[in-house]
């Protein structure tokens, strides 16, 4: 197995080469000391406390996680890092105007991030040919590992233009954990309602969940439209439900489960649970997993006469 340090070196070399040869104008990677690690990396007390009884806000740890960096000069390649705290899904930047303006991009991806590349290409948001993907073989991120890393099937990136790290011993780790979602779904609907009412009560509608999502790329979000107002703008109980229903459903059968929404949420709302639940239904009903098979037809925009309709009179 390649040591993380060695992988960082190889990543930097790759970046330097790509920029020197002029193959790309910008490399999007992780680097430097940035924001604190994932909220799940609990150590010290939370810097902010929110009135909740459901789930205390997981405190931020003292270990900084590398933040997104945009390398445009070969000599800056030294800023790149690779370690098990490279949480961010960097593909979110590919659809941003400011980043597109920099020229052809290379993006560093983990196997899970790469799934969003597949979806973005399917939705004609990126041209795969005019993009260079650097895949990192990943042992999982976070200490302890993020929930999504258990049972990971994409430790080795599958479609990257070049891959750094050894694929050996890269077998999927055990089965997926009995997730928090199972626990939630085992409750009664009234209990679930109470759970989400308490969680959403902390939402301040900062829209970090939207900004950080690689698949929330609409230039003008429905939440920002005001003629007429489709989604109530206030961070009231009603407005929060309207927003979170919309966010989750606009990602139905598209979400690749990177979990960035939950990680970005300053109030620690487990937004990813809604997406996971929809992903589960998508797999059960349509056998479709977004971003896994580039040849698979997306669920929405298609239909089949055989779709089940046991809920329709």
């Amino acid at each position: 197995m390649t040591e993380p340090g060695a992988m960082t070196q190889r990543l930097r070399e790759t970046c330097r080469r790509l920029l020197e040869e002029g193959k790309v104008q910008v490399v999007i990677g992780w680097g430097g000391a940035g924001r604190l690690a994932s909220p799940t990396q609990a150590e010290s007390p939370a810097p902010l406390s929110f009135p909740t009884q459901a789930e205390p806000h997981a405190p931020l740890s003292g270990t900084p996680a590398p933040r997104p960096v945009f390398i445009t000069r070969a000599e800056d390649a030294e800023k790149l890092e690779w370690n098990d705290r490279c949480f961010a899904n960097l593909t979110v930047y590919l659809t941003r105007k400011e980043v597109k303006a920099l020229g052809k991009a290379a993006v560093v991806v983990k196997g899970c991030d790469e799934r969003s590349l597949v979806v973005l290409e399917k939705e004609s948001q990126i041209e795969r040919g005019s993009l260079h993907a650097i895949g990192m073989v990943c042992e999982g991120v976070g200490t302890p590992r993020e929930a999504k890393c258990a049972g990971c099937e994409v430790r080795v990136p599958r479609f990257a233009d070049e891959t750094i790290g050894e694929a050996e011993g890269a077998a999927a780790s055990a089965t997926a954990v009995a997730s928090r979602l199972d626990g939630l779904m085992a409750k009664s609907p009234a209990e679930r309602w109470a759970f989400w009412t308490a969680e959403f009560a902390r939402c301040v509608k900062c829209y970090a969940c939207r900004q950080v999502c690689p698949l929330c790329y609409c230039e003008r979000c429905i939440a920002d439209k005001n003629r007429p107002v489709a989604i109530e703008t206030s961070a009231s109980a009603r407005g929060n439900f309207a927003w979170h229903i919309t966010r989750a459903f606009h990602l139905a059968a598209r979400c690749i489960g990177c979990g960035e929404c939950s990680r970005a949420c300053p109030a620690g709302i487990p937004l990813g649970l809604l997406n996971q639940s929809l992903a589960q239904a998508t797999e059960e009903d349509f056998g479709y997993r977004p971003g896994m098979d580039p040849k698979a037809e997306p669920v929405f925009g298609n239909w089949s006469p055989a779709d089940k309709e046991d809920f329709i009179r």
Binding site: L184, M185, S188, P189, A190, E191, R192, W193, A194, F195, W196, T197, I222, A230, I231, E232, S234, S236, A237, R238, G239, F241, A242, H244, I245, T246, A248, F249, A252, A253, L273, L274, S277, L278, Q280, A281, T282, D285, V299, F300, G301, N302, W303, S304, P305, D307, K308, E309, F311, I312, R313
Partner: protein, 144 residues
């Protein structure tokens, strides 16, 4: 004397089948409960899930979405697209703990005035038994 609870039901119907079915019920003098508010849209494929949310926000106790039978869509496949969407949307409602028994779906053709009468009768009766959708209405109360 206590007034009987009269549920508010919002029905989003398609222009080509269910709206005409409801019209047929009217011209045939078929009686059905006046609890339903009919909103006509071009097609079930046009019925955005936000409209269902909106109805609850505005105090609906139940919502009906109804359109052409599979194969009969005026726009060929709008109802097929809608059917897929509702399959997943129901899961989201369930995950959030929103009462899925208050969201109804039906295929009612232009010739099925009788079915319209039955469906509205059933939904009204069921919603009356369930009572007002207090959980969602409390959200709106809090917003005031």
């Amino acid at each position: 004397m206590t007034a009987q609870f009269e549920p508010k039901i919002v029905a989003y119907v398609c222009n080509w089948c269910t709206y005409l079915g409801a019209d047929l019920a009217g011209t045939n003098r078929l009686e059905y409960p006046p609890n339903v508010r009919i909103l006509r849209l071009p097609c079930t494929g046009r019925i955005d899930f936000n409209l269902i949310v909106k109805a609850f926000e505005m105090g609906a106790d139940a919502v009906l979405v109804s359109g052409c039978h599979p194969g009969d869509c005026h726009y060929t496949a709008g109802n097929y697209h809608a059917r897929r969407r509702w399959m997943l949307f129901r899961r989201l409602l369930d995950t959030l703990g929103i009462e899925t028994e208050r969201v109804h779906f039906a295929w009612i053709s232009a010739a099925e005035g009788k079915k319209w009468q039955q469906v509205i009768g059933e939904i009204t009766e069921k919603t009356r038994q369930m009572g007002p959708y207090a959980a969602y209405q409390e959200l709106s109360e809090a917003a005031k």
